[in-house]
């Protein structure tokens, strides 16, 4: 795939939000902390439903980031309304963006939106209908807790994170159980084969969570916490790296020597990916 990021183009991040998105501020801050320019952009600004000076063009950015929250309240399936609004007006723009090899990232509600949009897992390219779902946590409850993640496969964003590295990053969601429904077995194989699984929930020592609560906080298939598309430039994950950029944001920092937050390397990895221009 040809890469068109690079010379002459600013490495800007579009942090996209709509009513109910609520992690946009700390997400922008996380990008800025590692030296990337990030702009908060309301969905209306991309669809053109605002006065001319507020309009933005997706093509002007290098990264599209959909942060966490409860877009439109998530009173129906999480992420469904955000996805429907994007689909109705921005479908072509996003397709071009991805085909240009630019980066699309969804965290928590953002992962739910990318799945609803058919951008993930996107086995045969962007799918018309969702192929997977992030459904109710196995214990039926919202969970806000730190979890351990194993970096099991590289995507373009995460190359700086060593293979099998374990990160401690929090989750906060009610609907995070990744599943293919009745096709679990068949599609999981495909996901593994394509090396699309990027993060899996694990125990503190990196050993498998084996679906066991609370290591796997939601009962996700194969302990899946984050996946990418086959081309490796679209990533969705439930845990929130933007909440642990600094050491003192980690849940157990008072027990450790001071250091950086485990989320920082994630954002640094994005920065390096952009610098490399792949």
């Amino acid at each position: 795939m040809g890469c068109r990021i690079g010379e002459g183009m600013k490495m800007r991040v579009c942090v996209l939000f709509m009513e109910g998105t609520n992690c946009e501020d700390e997400t922008r801050r996380a990008f800025e902390q590692i030296g990337l320019e990030a702009e908060l952009v309301h969905l209306k600004q991309l669809t053109g439903d605002v006065i001319p000076e507020l309009r933005r063009n997706l093509g002007d950015y290098s990264v599209l980031m959909i942060p966490g929250g409860w877009s439109a309240g998530d009173y129906v399936r999480a992420g469904a309304i955000f996805a429907a609004r994007i689909k109705s007006k921005l479908r072509e723009d996003i397709k071009d963006f991805i085909e240009d090899g630019k980066l699309v990232l969804g965290v928590c509600n953002g992962f739910q939106v990318l799945t609803e949009l058919g951008l993930l897992p996107a086995f045969e390219g962007i799918s018309e209908t969702p192929e997977a779902a992030l459904t109710n946590n196995a214990n039926g409850r919202f969970q806000c807790r730190p979890v351990y993640l194993k970096h099991t496969g590289k995507c373009r964003f995460t190359e700086k994170i060593g293979e099998d590295n374990v990160l401690q990053i929090p989750v906060a969601h009610a609907e995070g159980r990744f599943t293919f429904g009745e096709n679990d077995e068949k599609y999981l194989e495909k996901l593994i084969e394509n090396e699309q699984i990027v993060f899996r929930y694990c125990r503190a020592d990196g050993s498998d969570a084996l679906g066991e609560f609370p290591w796997n906080p939601n009962g996700s298939l194969y302990d899946i916490a984050g996946i990418c598309n086959p081309e490796k430039n679209v990533l969705g994950m439930m845990p929130h790296p933007e909440r642990v950029v600094d050491g003192i944001q980690q849940a157990d920092w008072t027990r450790k020597k001071k250091g950086r937050g485990d989320g920082r390397i994630f954002f640094e990895s994005i920065r390096e990916c952009l610098k490399r221009g792949f």
Binding site: G20, N22, A72, R141, Q143, C144, A172, W215, D252
Partner: protein, 767 residues
């Protein structure tokens, strides 16, 4: 009796007060659910005599709002003025007077504090009541122009396993508990403000009247504080957010009366409906308009709806106002003017704006897709008017309307039995296990994890602390509100209603002491407090006396600790069939953390460290969980010794700044045993204690809830330095054998921590 109502418009009536006799007054108050007393109606009649006319129904409704206990604090004002309002402190910027208190944070910034009750709505509709409680408290902070940064939820229910027959119209505590927690989670998580602290208490007296208190902290640049008053004559009133509907009608009178059998049918319209996804952009838009200096005043729609917000803003600005009721966007057609005037529909804000800025403000709201409408204008009349279909349907003198009524109600204190019962010491191992399994002591994790406590990324010390998946209760949470400063705010919620029931004075004082202890435990200096005073019917002398005693106790302790009350709320008429709720003066304590990187958590850190006990343990067992569990009555409630505790506090903070403290936990419900166990849980370590010193019985030593005490972990190599700073008793050490061992002379206890943890985890509901 002649018909007292005369139609003057399609749905506006004139009410004949001038010719009314006592039975007419009674009939009117009852038919219109005004909640006004005979005396109050007569006072209103005399006013209209001076105005030489009869009131409209809209006007009478305005009095019902502004003269309700909820709005004008008519029963509590005299005692509040004598006690909690009088603590002076240099950190106060704008306190008590408005919807939230504004307190000094650093040179440039202030923090904002609000605490309120949403008790009666939650007793009828736990999910909706709790959700709209959060909505309301967020608006209180936003209307000062501040960005909300934390939510706090102190909750009080009847026993979850209550098996006896419930009073008619009362919902089971389990149902209320589940509904309230879900309401907080669903609303709080959606609006994106972290819920970082709170408490859950259980007592039989809350069976028919649960308490849902909600608190919020915000942060604001000092030069951006906006007040709840109109700025200038000619300023335009803009109302923004949700539409006005028939939900939340008579919310304040409903909050100012006892719940009864018929409440379910009668009062359900008083409960508002929440919509978090309107609140979220509404907050953005209001804060943006304020940041751009486009507002001269802002206030939220709370109790009393449009009536209170428009009158109070005009009055506070020493102006008058005219409101056009036809311009108010409605949810339902055909709403009568009085309904529009008093509806407490949620997610609404009122702003006053100079005429030349109106377009700019409306544009901001348009961007956020939040409806905003011009509904009125400020004038210099010192009267509030409402116009409907070209006719003035309300025209009242603001001073008369808002000065309201004040009562110095009679009080008679009923003394409690303070004699200690004689009893044989029970089996301690069994008692320890029962103690950790008590719903008042056990793990709150299953609730805490349902609230997003780290959205916004600024929660430095979370409510659960320790080794991952072994976490324990923390004493306070810590927020770092500013990007470019390591200064933080520690936040805790405290009250022990069992103490307060046995002794409202020392119970209330103990709540202050506990808040102070919790704030110190994480290395913060106690800075301010907010109080939510939940009590029974003030028209009954014994309830009134408890309220007075509690206020005096709060004043005594908070004044001595130099922590001013900067905001608060009074919720009276909390009664069940068997009497009033336990007096519940809920406190929200806020501390300043000099450097969040020096915050201390409650979980044990390493084996081989020394454990110190700070403070004196006394045989003060009144209101203790130990007595309650054993079914014992009587006893002295722990006293508060502010001078001694302040000295300990200063020493501990000094030791923490020198990094001599590895972990710290205060001793409260369940005493030393519970504190030691909780610290051990969080570190996944063992503990050995030797408490042989002193000749009190072992059970008192272990379970006394005396104030002013902390358990502190220190590295061996730092022991000498620590002892030179803090006056503390060495009482044990940390181990790795997974046991809690206690030695008291000849008594040797050995408790497996895994078993204790299982009991503790299962006390409420396991995750």
């Amino acid at each position: 009796m002649p018909e007292p109502y005369r139609k003057i418009l399609d749905n506006v009536y004139e009410i004949d007060l001038l010719e009314a006799d006592d039975s007419d007054f009674e009939r009117i108050s009852k038919e219109k659910s005004l909640g006004l007393s005979l005396e109050e109606l007569k006072k209103i009649r005399d006013y209209f005599k001076r105005e030489r006319r009869n009131p409209t129904d809209v006007e009478l409704e305005a009095f019902a709002q502004s003269w309700s206990e909820h709005c004008c604090y008519k029963s509590s004002k005299p005692i509040l003025k004598r006690t909690v309002f009088t603590i002076k402190a240099p950190q106060n910027i704008c306190v008590i007077a408005e919807d939230a208190g504004v307190v000094d944070f650093n040179k440039e910034y202030a923090y904002v504090v609000a605490l309120e009750s949403h008790n009666h709505p939650s007793a009828l509709d736990p999910y909706g009541g709790a959700a709209t409680g959060i909505g309301g408290i967020l608006r209180d902070v936003v209307c000062m122009g501040a960005q909300p940064i934390a939510l706090i939820d102190p909750l009080f229910f009847g026993p979850l396993n209550y098996k006896e027959k419930l009073p008619k119209g009362t919902k089971h505590p389990q149902y209320l508990f589940k509904g309230v927690v879900s309401g907080i989670a669903d609303y709080g998580n959606r609006v994106g403000i972290p819920t970082i602290a709170g408490m859950v208490e259980f007592h039989e007296s809350y069976i028919s009247n649960c308490l849902v208190n909600v608190g919020c902290i915000g942060i604001i640049r000092k030069d951006e504080v906006v007040h709840s008053r109109v700025g200038n004559v000619g300023d335009v009133y803009i109302m923004a957010g949700g539409k006005t509907g028939r939900d939340g009608i008579h919310g304040v009178s409903f909050a100012s009366a006892e719940l009864g059998e018929e409440s379910e049918k009668k009062d359900i319209p008083a409960v508002q409906l929440g919509y978090a996804i309107m609140k979220e952009p509404l907050m953005h838009a209001c804060l943006e308009a304020n940041k751009k200096k486009l507002l001269t005043g802002m206030k939220d729609f709370g109790g009393g709806g449009l009536s209170c917000v428009s009158s109070e803003m005009a009055y506070a600005g020493n102006k008058g106002a005219v409101i056009e009721l036809d311009n108010v966007p409605l949810k339902q057609e055909g709403m009568a003017p009085w309904e529009i005037w008093v509806s407490e529909s949620q997610e609404r804000m009122m702003m006053s704006v100079r005429p030349e800025n109106v377009k700019k403000v409306l544009k901001i709201f348009e961007f956020w897709d939040v409806p905003a409408t011009v509904v009125g204008r400020a004038d210099d009349t010192k009267r509030i008017k409402a116009v409907y279909k070209g006719k003035t349907v309300l025209d009242l003198d603001l001073d008369f309307l808002l000065k309201g009524v004040v009562y110095d109600r009679p009080a008679k204190y009923v003394a409690r039995d303070e004699a200690d019962p004689g009893f044989k010491m029970p089996d301690l191992e069994d008692t320890a296990l029962r103690m950790l399994n008590s719903p008042r002591v056990g793990s709150r994790e299953s609730i805490i994890r349902r609230y997003d406590h780290e959205v916004r990324g600024n929660t430095i010390l979370k409510p659960m602390q320790g080794k991952i998946n072994h976490q324990t209760h923390g004493d306070a949470a810590v927020i770092k509100p500013l990007v470019d400063s390591f200064q933080g705010l520690a936040i805790t919620a405290d009250v022990n209603p069992i103490f307060c029931k046995q002794d409202p004075y020392w119970g209330a004082a103990s709540a202050v002491d506990e808040a102070v202890r919790n704030l110190v435990s994480v290395n913060s200096r106690p800075h301010s407090m907010a109080d939510c005073l939940n009590f029974g019917n003030p028209e009954k002398e014994d309830r009134m006396a408890d309220l007075i005693k509690a206020c005096e106790g709060l004043y005594f302790a908070a004044n001595a600790f130099e922590t001013p009350f900067v905001s608060g709320n009074v919720s009276l008429y909390n009664e069940g069939v068997k009497g009033p709720i336990a007096p519940t003066p809920t406190l929200l304590g806020i501390g300043i953390v000099k450097d969040v990187r020096k915050t201390v958590s409650s979980d044990l850190k390493e084996t081989g460290n020394i454990l110190y006990l700070v403070g004196k343990t006394g045989q003060e067992m009144g209101g203790s969980e130990y007595y309650r569990m054993l079914g014992l009555k009587g006893g002295l409630v722990p006293r508060v010794y502010p001078e001694k505790t302040k000295k300990s506090m200063n020493c501990i903070l000094k030791a923490m700044d020198k990094k001599l403290v590895r972990s710290c936990h205060d001793l409260s419900t369940g005493g030393l045993l519970v504190a030691a166990a909780e610290m051990a849980f969080g570190g996944d370590l063992g503990v050995e204690l030797d408490i042989s010193e002193g000749n009190m019985r072992t059970d008192y030593k272990l379970f006394s809830e005396s104030n002013g005490r902390w358990l502190i972990e220190v590295r061996k190599k730092d022991a000498e330095r620590f002892e030179s700073v803090v006056d503390a008793k060495k009482i044990g050490r940390t181990t790795k054998d997974g046991k809690l061992k206690i030695k008291d002379g000849k008594i040797d206890l050995e408790l497996p921590l895994e078993e204790l943890r299982d009991k503790w985890d299962a006390a409420l509901e396991k995750e």
